[in-house]
């Protein structure tokens, strides 16, 4: 039974929203006053000479100077009209993109970066969490240097738990530099260009398509969510399994093993009675270890198979073949 009914949950959430709305104080906004005017970048350089030095060689410096709409404004293309700020030298009277809020119509940067790659920014995890572009980007930098730190270290700055996961024994090769966070994650909300549809598994299938099937003999969790068994950043167990075998498998399946019959200890290798070319051994512990250690040693086609398994009692579904 659920401890909180669904209507109850929604009532609580609605109350929270209303309470939050009620608590909202008068807004304190910053930026140029309505009567502020554009004064040109030379005026900016008189105080911010450290920024202006070499700005023309930066990506934004190069591009802004070549776009008619911005060529006269340069700094004020992003920072807004600077007359009031220059006169009163008040930092609140100029737009500081690093301090703008995603609460505005849209982030300032999207005025220019308006193509389809950023169409979903507002709905992205970063956009919806109000992450500012300048959290990751250095705007006054040269091409190829516009991230504050190279990834993945940049991402680890906030996602510290992920750094630890990539140092685990089984991990996607981000630590080795073969993949990047952006190989899987839509940093700007852009859909992965090779993942079609909105199924969470589709992203995994873009690189691991052999796991998609459809298969004649299915393993149902594969059709649910890859993350039921795998943790993509890193795990202790091999193959990015969230738990080691057989524990993970025993979450859903009854385990099976043979017990030791009396008098059947075979501590040293002996030929199989019916086949002198085969040898068997038998100890009580060894018997159980064989069955209760690594399920996929026998159930090797764990993501699904088009071939029936040898054992009839599972209707060919044992995924051993």
């Amino acid at each position: 039974m659920l401890s909180l009914s669904k209507p109850g949950l929604y009532s609580v959430l609605l109350a929270l929203i209303l309470a939050a709305l009620w608590l909202i104080p008068a807004d304190v906004s910053a930026g140029p006053p309505p009567n502020a005017e554009y004064i040109g970048s030379e005026a900016c350089g008189s105080c911010h000479d450290d920024v202006m030095e070499g700005f023309s060689e930066t990506t934004h410096g190069l591009l802004l100077s070549k776009v008619k709409k911005y060529e006269d404004k340069l700094c004020e293309s992003c920072h807004g009209p600077g007359s009031a700020h220059a006169e009163q030298q008040d930092p609140d009277l100029i737009i500081n993109p690093a301090k703008t809020s995603g609460m505005d119509d849209k982030p300032l940067c999207l005025d220019c970066h308006s193509d389809s790659k950023f169409a979903d920014w507002q709905f992205s995890a970063h956009g919806a969490e109000n992450v500012n572009c300048s959290t990751c980007h250095t705007v006054h930098s040269k091409a190829g240097q516009m991230l504050k730190t190279p990834t993945p270290d940049l991402c680890y700055g906030c996602h510290t738990d992920v750094r630890a996961e990539f140092y685990m024994p089984s991990h996607h090769p981000v630590t080795e530099g073969k993949l990047d966070c952006e190989s899987c994650h839509n940093i700007h909300g852009t859909e992965n260009k090779f993942a079609m549809g909105d199924d969470s598994r589709e992203l995994c299938f873009t690189c691991h398509p052999d796991k998609e099937g459809p298969f004649m003999f299915e393993h149902e969790p594969v059709n649910e969510d890859c993350r039921m068994c795998h943790s993509p950043h890193g795990t202790v167990a091999d193959n990015l399994l969230v738990q080691s075998e057989p524990t993970l498998c025993l979450n859903c399946h009854a385990m099976h093993f043979h017990t030791q019959l009396p008098g059947q200890d075979i501590p040293d290798e002996e030929p199989v009675p019916t086949d002198p070319n085969r040898f068997i051994t038998s100890t009580p512990d060894g018997f159980k270890i064989g069955m209760l250690t690594k399920c996929t040693q026998c159930h090797s086609e764990i993501h699904g198979s088009d071939l029936p398994s040898q054992s009839i009692s599972g209707s060919g579904r044992a995924l051993t073949r």
């Binding site: 140092y167 524990t247 009396p262 009580p284």
Partner: protein, 115 residues
């Protein structure tokens, strides 16, 4: 656990050190299964699960380390050299994947020329 250190010794020489260590364990608690009925058929069979929790333990220690330097001969020529060492120790006995203990090191050097 990780630590990265950069030491700018002079305008020409920069030293760097990186190190990460992780200890990773996965284990099953002791499983308490009910005892089968006494006597008869069951008495002769081995239904003892008491050691089952020891079959699939995993226990790894991983050390990644590196030390190197950049030496700037001129604004456009940089000499870089370093060594990295990665060691993985498998303390679980190898029942699950076999013994995976191993290590490797890489020595690397080169020149970068910007023009």
């Amino acid at each position: 656990m990780y630590a990265n250190i950069v030491y700018i010794a002079s305008s020409k020489l920069t030293l760097n050190f990186t190190g990460q260590f992780s200890k990773n364990k996965s284990a099953l608690d002791q499983v308490n299964m009910p005892d089968p009925p006494e006597g008869g058929f069951f008495a002769a069979r081995d239904y003892d699960y008491s050691n089952m929790y020891t079959y699939s333990d995993l226990d790894y220690s991983i050390l990644r380390s590196g030390v190197g330097f950049d030496y700037r001969f001129s604004p456009s020529v940089i000499w870089t050299a370093g060594v990295s060492y990665i060691d993985l120790k498998d303390d679980a006995g190898g029942y699950v994947y076999g013994d995976e203990t191993g290590s490797y090191f890489t020595v690397r050097a080169g020149l970068r020329y910007d023009f």
